[in-house]
Amino acid sequence: MKAKLKVENVFKIFGDAPQDAVERLKRGEDKKTILEQTGQTVGVQDVSFEVPEASIFVVMGLSGSGKSTLVRMLNGLIKPSSGSILIDGDDVASCSAETLRNIRRNKIAMVFQHFALFPHKSVLENAAYGLKVKGVSAAERRKRGLEALERVGLDGYAESLPSALSGGMQQRVGLARGLATEPQILLMDEPFGALDPLIRREMQDELLALQKSLRKTIIFITHDLNEALLLGDRIAIMKDGRFVQVGTAQEIVANPADDYVAAFVADIDRGRVFTAETVANAPESVQLATDTAETAMQSMEDLNRNALYVLDGEEIAGVVTYQDLSTAVRENNGDLASALITDFPSVEGDAHLNTLYGPASAGLPIAVTDETNRLVGVVEPEAVFAQLSGDETSQGETPADTAPVAPARTVAPETA
């Protein structure tokens, strides 16, 4: 899929001699030295990235890392000191005011941290502001403004003033204003940063739900790594104006690029980042019709497992444990069906690990299934906790070769 937004070697220096500072940065001098020697403040240095259509790109960084400056350069609110920002081939950094205005009106909208709603306009007028500026007729504005409000669940408040709404509702208006012009790109500058934790959580889920139907290209700025990991198809960690690491949530948590990223990652809830697939073993199984208790026990010994799934053709019939099988061999002449546990735990491959705690408590391996309910993997309860602890060595118990393969498999469909 082609890149909707392409940023190449962008620098932003605040000061009166930006080119000099850019040269110094290219020679390898750091931000602090440049500030001391020339008085120029480095906002963003040498940032390049591409955002494919319909994906969420999250830029995460602490305050002062340059993330707000970066997002403002994407729609030309701040001009970069050097570099180019291409939206469908138009360079925002160097195009004429007229072209820039057309790009802003038709292609790129923005949602602000402190909502930035116009206090003298009603909720509907706020939502339809982008349309008014474009010269859309009043009736059409009203219709499309109401549609946008409906999408964020605020159609009942069209005539209220923003000040009459709570923070969460105000930001929904901000989002509706961004959606009303039907832009392909949505810039979100810490949109949930000013909200209560519970509301924030709700808005994040809602954004993900909206994104499923809207499929916008979203650039999302945040200082909260959990938020970044939850929302981002790809995430960039920013420090001192440069990208320290860019990757998927799982790549960043599994392999932090440096101590700075590692320090962030240490605190996050790994259960929300990793999915069942990342810890799943190969879907080894035995057939109900052809295998016996003895052959099943032999397979377990070969695979070094304590339990195995039993298939009836393509369908999962149940799970058998080594212990039950040895009993079956003694008492039921090795009948596989007599040892079958049909009440087995199962999850979908993209389930996060934090939803696996319940199924894992039964002590049985968890079946990982696809949409058609076929067995695609098996998760050992120990593997879940090994992944959560972030301890790579304890994964030695599970066949090591499946672990690195699995994340790659989950990543591909999301970004492609």
Partner: protein
């Protein structure tokens, strides 16, 4: 020992030469032409106010006061205007009112655009600021003489002197109001592709309106304080009553004129202040503000405030 022992600067001679021998002979027609719009607005207003019967005018102004500032101010307006009429100063008061409104009209026409331009350009504001400082600090008697030389005597020169005196606050407060519009709102307007005009009309001006109204109120009050001084160069109205009383040591006449000015000032101040404060409840457009003023249905003051 002082610098004046070595060199005396004939500053006053320079100014005399500049004004008498250069500006007056060369630019008199230009300045004469300048007072044409002022005179025509003034004559129109003066004719209008002197044509409207006292009872009708009082009723309308009381209604406006009721709609904007509430019952108390409305009653005060009614009583004050009756009192002015009964002390025999009604025609003078109407003349003064038309002078004030003419000056304020020109202050708004000049001041609001200048304030907006100054808010958009730091360089222009750097030039404008000292000019405003001079306009506010220079004693008005200083520019009365050149004004008489350039414009002659009469109502229009008096109004021009008043405009010079009353202009600074509306420029300052328009500039302040526009500059104080929250930065993220400007960013938002820009991010959605507003042109500079759309930004001004949709966002900056409505949000600055409250501050601009405060400036208008200040300008109005300053204009009122100039009426006596303007009478010195031939302007009529209540100022002339005071000035004549002063000349004849007629304490009663001067006081009557003075009381008329004070009463008019209080009424206009309360009404314009209330217009500004309405913005606090809900910022509405200028058009809506005036529409609500002239709406015929008389709503109670409290309701008017919450509704608009």
């Amino acid at each position: 020992m002082s610098p004046s022992d070595f060199l005396m600067i004939p500053f006053s001679d320079w100014v005399n030469i500049l004004v008498r021998e250069w500006i007056v002979p060369n630019f008199r027609p230009f300045f004469r032409a300048l007072q044409v719009p002022v005179s025509s607005v003034l004559n129109w207003l003066d004719a209008f106010f002197n044509f409207v019967p006292m009872v009708a005018f009082t009723a309308v102004l009381a209604l406006i006061a009721y709609k904007t500032a509430g019952r108390g101010v409305a009653i005060f307006t009614l009583v004050a205007l009756c009192f002015i009429d009964m002390i025999g100063l009604w025609p003078e008061t109407m003349t003064t009112l038309s002078m004030i409104l003419t000056s304020v009209f020109f202050c708004v026409v000049i001041g609001v655009p200048v304030g907006i331009l100054a808010a958009r350009s730091d360089r222009l504001w750097k030039i404008t600021r000292p000019v405003l400082d001079i306009m506010q600090t220079i004693p008005s008697f200083v520019y009365l003489v050149p004004i008489v030389m350039l414009f002659g005597v009469g109502m229009a020169p008096g109004i021009i002197a008043t405009i010079i005196f009353a202009l600074p606050p509306i420029i300052r407060l328009t500039n302040l109001g526009i500059r104080n519009v929250r930065g993220d709102l400007i960013e938002a307007a820009e991010a959605f592709g507003s042109t500079p005009w759309q930004m001004l009309w949709e966002v900056q001006f409505p949000l600055a309106l409250r501050t601009i109204m405060a400036g208008l109120n200040q300008t109005l009050m300053l204009a009122l304080s100039m009426v006596v001084i303007a009478a010195l160069i031939g302007a009529g109205g209540l100022g002339l009553t005071v000035y004549t009383g002063l000349g004849r040591l007629d304490v009663g006449g001067a006081t009557a004129g003075g009381v008329g000015i004070v009463l008019l000032a209080i009424i206009l101040d309360r009404i314009t202040q209330a217009l500004g404060e309405q913005q606090q409840v809900k910022t509405v457009s200028l058009r809506q503000t005036f529409a609500s003023l002239f709406r015929l249905r008389a709503a109670p003051a409290g309701e008017t405030r919450s509704a608009g």
